[in-house]
Chain length 266, copies 2
DNA sequence: TTAATAGTGTCTGTAAGACAATATTGC
DNA sequence: GCAATATTGTCTTACAGACACTATTAA
């Protein structure tokens, strides 16, 4: 990023620049946070809005960018931390999904939202409602037929079940987009590993459960295993770390994920 | 997008809402515009900045979002139209690429840029420099070894050759990201068709040249043909529209692209 | 004993990539 | 004529998906 001085003339220009000349929108960083629960189902974190607009509606966590102080990525990381206690520096996946900016999507003012997807292992989650929320909890993501016989996505917690359409703002659309992206990326990224309880110690079928949860579909054990051994073990994306117990008896094999430089960004 | 009233209380809240409470960043919509030239090379449209900052540097076209008046997508479409005379309503591909928002990427003020990729057939282009630009032209995108022996991307027009690093702001990074995304999407999207001179009347190898230009790599004619017939003709993405001339003699077969609902969005 | 989980093997169809052979076209 | 372009075919390897068979473990 080149921000060093380029000319005396430019310095002069900048001194006289008035940033208030143009009408500006607000910018938020929102995060669709996914995890896996004890039942091997895909979960999404929703907060119950404590204030207007959409008071008492469920929404994805997000907050306004503090202009001049932080980048949009940093705002997203901050939001993730505030809501879950998880830090990006801990190696959590936080990836840009889409930016939405229709003038009327927020009734207060023109809000441009930069939306991220985060994949967090359940064990690391310490969920707390931020100051703008009255509640925060995980919802199981399910696909099923609604009252009109249409296949649609809905969200289930211990206390309530809500449909995509009943979320605040356009958040139903955003989560739907996030799920489709997650499904599309599954075969050529390491997204599934990010949802493992322990990346350095897992069984094949643990990973398969994650694939199944994301795709909403049962997979063939034999074929998944073949894929795993070929695409991951043979290509050194993953290492076997022993399949015998202390007594030397064969046990279910354990594997360890090998971190790599990122291959899809930049 | 739900913006209808939800409660009397919320109406009251909105009446008293003061949008000036928070410091806001500026938002721009920038567009990386690709096309193919007569030499079957990938081209990108750059403008020469007419004012500070980065005066006289080459940059991708873009402009500030008019808050409250237009969506970010509309701002990008407007920018595309101003620079090339091409309208999204004419069926031009305009796709979100990435949003960048570091506080210091623009020396004037905190600018969040939502960056799009546009794929435009050469024949439709009517390039004109916008009011903030002193020049606008197409540059061939090439890969080659720089003075340090590093493989890098650079841009060549009839008059000058510039490297990625010498573009304004972080635009080198943005174009680089756009190219990688284009390459990655090539095999599972219809991006290549968007660059055809005439989608309803083209030869197989015309499409192959586009693939080659995007991948910076020669392809095997025989194998490309097989892929084309299997994945595109058999699956009705494309239709043969005759391989005989008026006299009934066999000619190079012509194909017609069949429009479809989008499969990657939503 | 049953049911669920874990692991292996087989068969088919499809597809990618390398490469050879043969037309056709435009200078 | 040559060179570039167009078309077809062969061969090998790889892999996805369907499915059958066998162990092992836990209730």
């Amino acid at each position: 990023m080149m921000t060093e001085s380029r000319s005396q003339e430019e310095q002069e220009f900048l001194k006289n620049y008035d940033p208030a000349r143009y009408e500006r929108p607000s910018v938020t960083a929102d995060v669709v946070i996914f995890t896996m629960d004890e039942d091997n189902e895909l979960n999404v974190l929703l907060i119950k809005r404590g204030g207007h607009p959409f008071k008492d509606y469920w929404a994805i966590p997000g907050g306004f960018l503090e202009a001049g102080k932080e980048s949009v990525d940093e705002a997203a990381a901050r939001e993730l931390y505030e809501e879950t206690g998880v830090k990006v520096s801990d190696g959590i996946e936080l990836r840009q999904l889409i930016t939405v900016g229709a003038p009327d999507r927020d009734p207060r003012t023109h809000v441009v939202s930069v939306v991220y997807t985060a994949l967090v292992p359940r064990g690391l989650l310490a969920i707390k409602a931020g100051d703008d929320a009255s509640d925060a909890r995980l919802f199981k993501v399910r696909r099923g037929y609604d009252e009109h016989g249409e296949l649609s996505t809905y969200f289930v917690s211990s206390e309530c079940s809500i449909t995509m359409k009943h979320l605040a703002f356009d958040h139903g659309f955003l989560i739907s987009t996030a799920i489709k992206r997650l499904q599309g990326r599954l075969s050529y990224t390491d997204d599934a590993f990010a949802l493992l309880q322990d990346k350095s110690r897992f069984e094949i079928y643990e990973l398969m459960k994650i694939h199944e949860a994301i795709l909403f579909q049962k997979l063939d054990r034999s074929n998944f295993r073949k894929m795993f051994l070929r695409s991951l073990v043979d290509r050194q994306r993953v290492k076997e770390i022993g399949k015998y117990d202390a007594a030397g008896k064969p046990k279910t094999a354990l594997y360890c994920y090998l971190e790599r430089k990122d291959y899809d960004e930049n």
